[in-house]
């Protein structure tokens, strides 16, 4: 890629390679997400949950972390984020198709239930907001052992209504733990709008009540999220405690493959959302800054497409789990 090295710096601490890589990760996440929805419509993937519209926020946060060092306790919309942490398209296609090689759970869980020891991604289940407390525990271990690691945990704005969320933020603030509470606020919890979920405009309004720094950022602005996440991560690493970070996102697709958001959102609302697609925004931004030249975006897209094709071929050929294993791993064996 012929990128002028003299392009204006649009993020002080990111190199042009990093910026391109960020864009590439967003595209990869989007294309894989689209592929999974296609598999679902084809009847091959019984369940799919989409992160479309959250990619910029996830890449922004992911790049603020030290891969292989920091930890993540994600939620089901974090397809792009777990890939920034090191997972691969193949992993997710294995999960979607219910293959034994699904690294998250060996196809025991629905797709979207991430977990990977290799990439410091903690195993997650379905109950909303339980993961918040696990992240606080992970951060407790970091602090106890004197490690300079940071853990990020994510949840939707709906999840902030759960008691576990409150208990987790409060505990982390009391003990000044190195944890970042990321709220991906897409203004809906399935069909329930934010106005029925809370009486405040911003989840970040809750930070002061916990004695915790907090910020609301435009989750469609990858670099803004990166900057805010970076600040939070640095603070946590310095031993100065947790941060509540709200990224305002859009849920471009329905809640899941079992939902149809046209039944409770207006056509206008849906159309307007699409006009602000974070991928397009970032592409324009990088092109404007000369980080991407003409044709680069296309090249990236094609490269991602190829990765996904190869992954799909592998997943297609992979075997389902052996029924003989179904009763294993309830307790430690042997």
């Amino acid at each position: 890629m012929a990128v002028s090295e003299s392009a204006p710096a649009i993020a002080a601490d990111l190199t042009q390679d990093q910026l391109r890589s960020m864009y590439r990760d967003m595209v990869l996440g989007r294309l894989l997400d689209e592929r999974i929805l296609v598999l679902n419509r084809q009847g091959r993937a019984p369940f799919a949950i989409s992160g479309q519209g959250h990619e910029a926020a996830q890449v922004g946060v992911g790049y603020a972390l030290r891969r292989g060092h920091d930890w993540l306790v994600p939620y089901y919309r974090d397809l792009t984020l777990v890939m920034v942490m090191g997972m691969e398209p193949k992993d997710h296609l294995m999960a979607s198709l219910g293959r034994a090689q699904d690294p998250n759970s060996g196809a025991r869980q629905m797709p979207g239930h991430y977990g990977s020891r290799a990439h410091n991604i903690v195993t997650t289940g379905s109950p909303v907001a339980t993961q918040i407390l696990h992240a606080v525990g992970v951060a407790t271990a970091f602090k106890y052992r004197g490690e300079d690691k940071v853990v990020v945990t994510s949840v939707g704005e709906g999840g902030t209504s759960e008691g576990d969320w409150h208990e987790g933020l409060n505990w982390a603030a009391v003990h000044r733990l190195p944890v970042i509470f990321l709220v991906e606020n897409n203004s809906y919890a399935i069909s329930v709008p934010q106005s029925l979920q809370m009486a405040v405009a911003h989840v970040a309004d809750r930070g002061p009540g916990y004695g915790m720094p907090s910020a609301t950022v435009d989750g469609g602005d990858c670099l803004a999220v990166y900057a805010a996440a970076r600040e939070a991560v640095d603070r946590a690493r310095r031993g100065e405690g947790p941060t509540l970070l709200e990224a305002v996102c859009m849920r471009l697709q329905s809640h899941s493959s079992d939902d149809d958001q046209r039944r409770y959102r207006s056509p206008d609302d849906l159309a307007q959302m699409r006009e602000h697609d974070p991928l397009e925004r970032f592409r324009r931004q990088l092109e404007g800054a000369g980080v991407l030249s003409e044709g680069d975006a296309d090249t990236i897209r094609k490269e991602c497409q190829r990765v996904i094709e190869a992954a799909q071929a592998e997943a297609d050929a992979a075997a389902p789990p052996d029924p003989a294993t179904a009763l294993r791993h309830v307790y430690q064996e042997g």
Binding site: Q109, M110, S126, I190, V192, R263, P320
Partner: protein, 329 residues
């Protein structure tokens, strides 16, 4: 009488009861504009408005706790927990509060409310570990609660009406595999099926199979097959797992002398254990074979991938095999 599905029967019962009694409110996640993730409350929001059909915050303890407060203040709330798997955050409100309110106040206060939740799974349900659980044993253990698990559309309606009118808290668990798979005649209007009374779903003289919920249908299929070989299985549909219909359990056990208890939930310390213990204690003289149980294996819930789910799930074949084992004893 109309031919309706199980979920339509539930929706219909809610609608009728809300028209009849303005103390009845419905609340839960997505029960409003969306009409519930399974459509059990479809149309209610449009008819009764946001004051009576409340889209709640994502907080199960609150859904139950606020419902308790409504009940204490004279309303008749019907709380929906989106999936039974997500009821544990509300356990404290259910076990320590709802169940104990009458007893702890020496009868001065009561807590008439219903907690509805879809339960169970199946090989093709793909709900995986957290959209498939059958947790009724946790509630069936608790004095102060009633636990109802209907197996047919007509029972779903009749038991839900009874549950809403019941003076005490009722857990009402609906197997999601039944929602749309069954269609039968359901009486219109006032159709009350009493809580605590089981139903003989099939008569038979040779063996008894005691079961409930979606498993009833699998057992009936197995029983039909056995019938072809001249072995007549009596099938008892418990309908209510707390309080249990002891008389009917004992009656069928004494009649046939051979009992299999069958459910989708995990076996250990489950409802089946209680039924088996009752049979063992009360029918010692009449039993011709040990009381047997068949249920969910020792894994947390039903896995996602079909080959794994099959290991968990019962299905008519496994049930038939077990019944034949019992018959041969």
């Amino acid at each position: 009488m109309a031919q309706v599905t199980y979920v339509e029967a539930i929706r219909g019962a809610l609608e009728e009861e809300m028209r009849r009694d303005d103390r009845v409110l419905v609340m839960g996640e997505d029960v409003g504009a969306k009409g519930g993730v399974f459509g059990a409350t479809a149309g209610l929001f449009q008819e009764f408005g946001e004051e009576r059909v409340i889209d709640t915050p994502l907080a199960e303890a609150a859904i139950v706790g606020v419902s308790i407060g409504c009940a204490l203040a004279g309303l008749r709330p019907v709380a929906e927990i989106q999936f039974l798997d997500f009821i544990p955050p509300a356990m404290d409100q259910i076990i320590n509060e709802a169940a104990k309110i009458r007893y702890r106040s020496n009868g001065e206060w009561s807590c008439p409310m219903v907690i509805r939740a879809p339960c169970g799974g199946g090989v093709h349900v793909h709900g995986a570990l957290y959209h498939s659980q059958s947790l009724e044993a946790l509630f069936a253990h608790v004095p102060g609660l009633k636990v109802v698990i209907p197996s047919t559309p007509a029972d779903a309606k009749g038991l839900l009406l009874s549950a809403i009118r019941d003076p005490d808290p009722v857990c009402f668990f609906e197997h999601k595999a039944l929602y749309r798979s069954l269609r039968e005649e359901v009486p219109e209007g006032e159709h009350l099926v009493p809580i605590g009374k089981s139903r003989v779903a099939r008569e038979g003289a040779d063996l008894s199979c005691i079961t409930y919920g979606a498993t009833v249908h699998e057992v009936l299929t197995a029983a039909e097959r056995m019938g072809e070989d001249g072995i007549e299985v009596e099938v008892l549909d418990l309908r209510t797992v707390r309080p249990l219909d002891r008389e009917a359990i004992i009656a069928t056990a004494r009649k046939t002398g051979k009992v299999l208890v069958c459910h989708e939930a995990n076996l250990a310390v489950g409802v089946g254990a209680e039924v088996a213990a009752i049979v063992a204690e009360e029918c010692f003289q009449q039993l011709d074979a040990p009381v047997m149980r068949l249920g969910g294996p020792e894994v947390p819930a039903i896995p996602f991938a079909e080959p794994l789910a099959e290991v968990y799930c019962l299905g008519p074949e496994k049930i038939e095999a077990k019944l034949r084992q019992l018959a041969a004893y």
